[in-house]
Amino acid sequence: MGATAAAPPQTVDAPAPRKRRAPDAGPKTPFWLWCVVALIVLFCLFPFYWMVSISLKTGVELNNGTPYPHHPSLKNYDSIFHNGDFTRALLNSAVVSVVTTVLALTVGSFCAYALARLRFKGKFVILGLVLSITTFPAIAIAAPLFRLWSNIGIYNTWIGLIIPYLTFALPLSIYILVSFFKEIPKDLEEAALVDGATHFEAFRKVVVPLAAPGLATAGILTFIGAWNEFLFAITLTSSRTARTVPAAIAFFTGSTQFEQPLGTISAASVVISVPLILLVLFFQKRIVAGLTAGAVKG
């Protein structure tokens, strides 16, 4: 796959001799390119299709490996919504992810603004520190917190998850916001300053509204990161009280031991993936901009 897909630049001109006149007349898609495109689409979507098809199968059909469900049934979906562990996990995930995102954006935006706009010493050190935190392995924080949280009584609570989630959420939002703040034209702030605003007012009334797309991007990426987090979620929780969706799915078993649990697990997986896929497709441009912020150019 890698080799075939890497070939394009070599063959870009291959069919050219016949239609040499028209290369600028608008790109005409050669057949081989459509094949590669089809392959990529299949590669990206087929595993998801398979999981959806498993989630619609019940009973013997689950075990006979048919490519699509002959008798599609929503029984698995019905059963997960009557599963208290799953619905509670949805609530836990929502609260933990939203609070983490709001905290990280609020605190992070101040820091990012100072790094992007104000003149002071030590910027390089601070950015280096922020960046190096994003590379910390979560395990190095999860191990001590496992003991610490039991000692101070916040093991298996929302707050016990939100605190470690900030270790990746805060650096991530700072890093994305710095590059967005730097793109806002300085003139507008200067104008506000000339008109008698303080630096802080200029930040609050001019920069923050203009940086709304950047804030949205950082918010979405932070939210997805928190929603997706797994290591803290299983290490620092022990019951449905605080267990988030990824942890709940990992510990999911069928309602009876005779039931193939993967049917219901697949249904639960589809349910939590669909909103996320819609979110990503809707904010596609923002997300791509955020993912590549700072990675290519400063």
């Binding site: 999981m51 191990a143 697949s266 896929i277």
Partner: protein
Amino acid sequence: MADATAVQTTGTPTQQRRRSKGLSERRLAFFMVAPSMALIALVAAYPIGYGIWLSLHEYSVRVAGLSRWAGLRNYSTALSDSEWWAAFFHTMIFTVCSVSLEFAIGLGMALVMHAAFRGQGIIRTVVLVPWAMLTVVTAVMWRTMFESPLGFVNNLLGTNTVWLGDEPYALIVVILADVWKTAPFMALLLLAGLQVIPSEIYEAAKVDGATAWQRFARITMPLLLPAILVALIFRTLDALRIFDLPFVLTNGKAGTSTLSTIAQETFASNRIYGLGSAMAVLTFIIVMIVSFIYIRTVGGNIRGLAEE
């Protein structure tokens, strides 16, 4: 003080004004940066310090809370443990295989996405689907494909392999699942790199008669190199920390234990805090060594952000 007419010229009068109004710039910067730094110290630095402290102690199994100084004994136990070394090698194999496959596929995807053709919007949208999938869901998905009666893989290949229960197959599935989920991310990073290469260079090379392969090897690759390096190092650091895929796919069994799963199992399931913490610190050290190389490589980027 600057008067209204002078403001129009350039920055100097405004700068004088800035200093006279509200907080001084330096103090404002301090107040804006301090909360983040305090939070980072609290949520990252303190736990890591405490983790190192834990790793230097031994904890009584019988009496809760009883511990004694152990020096580096936990580290020597970990480093002479064949299971830890197995986890180390699984992690290394996983990292090398998944990152290189992701690079090859990601580069291919990026080149296709960069090629101008009608309907390229579809593919840019489609590659985001694996990226948006939760890692745990990715693991579930690959279980449904490989686990015997439900999955189609054995039917398709005509084999009878217990994919998730035997070495080395389980690790292969873990690698494939990771490649599926993150090759698109790699593609987006590389695509961003491709988009900043000015098209005039290609035009000029075409005029000079360079073949498509020459243009790829002599223009695209060298100019894409910074983006490639960043993408590779990003992914390497992530791969070294891998935890969720092996945990959900195989629970770290069948030759899929990694640096993170073995440490987590030791302190969370077996409650051997000292040894578990030592394993976590070892993971931290390994990642930091790679991360150091990373910071050296993209140091220019941070400097760019820090510049006025």
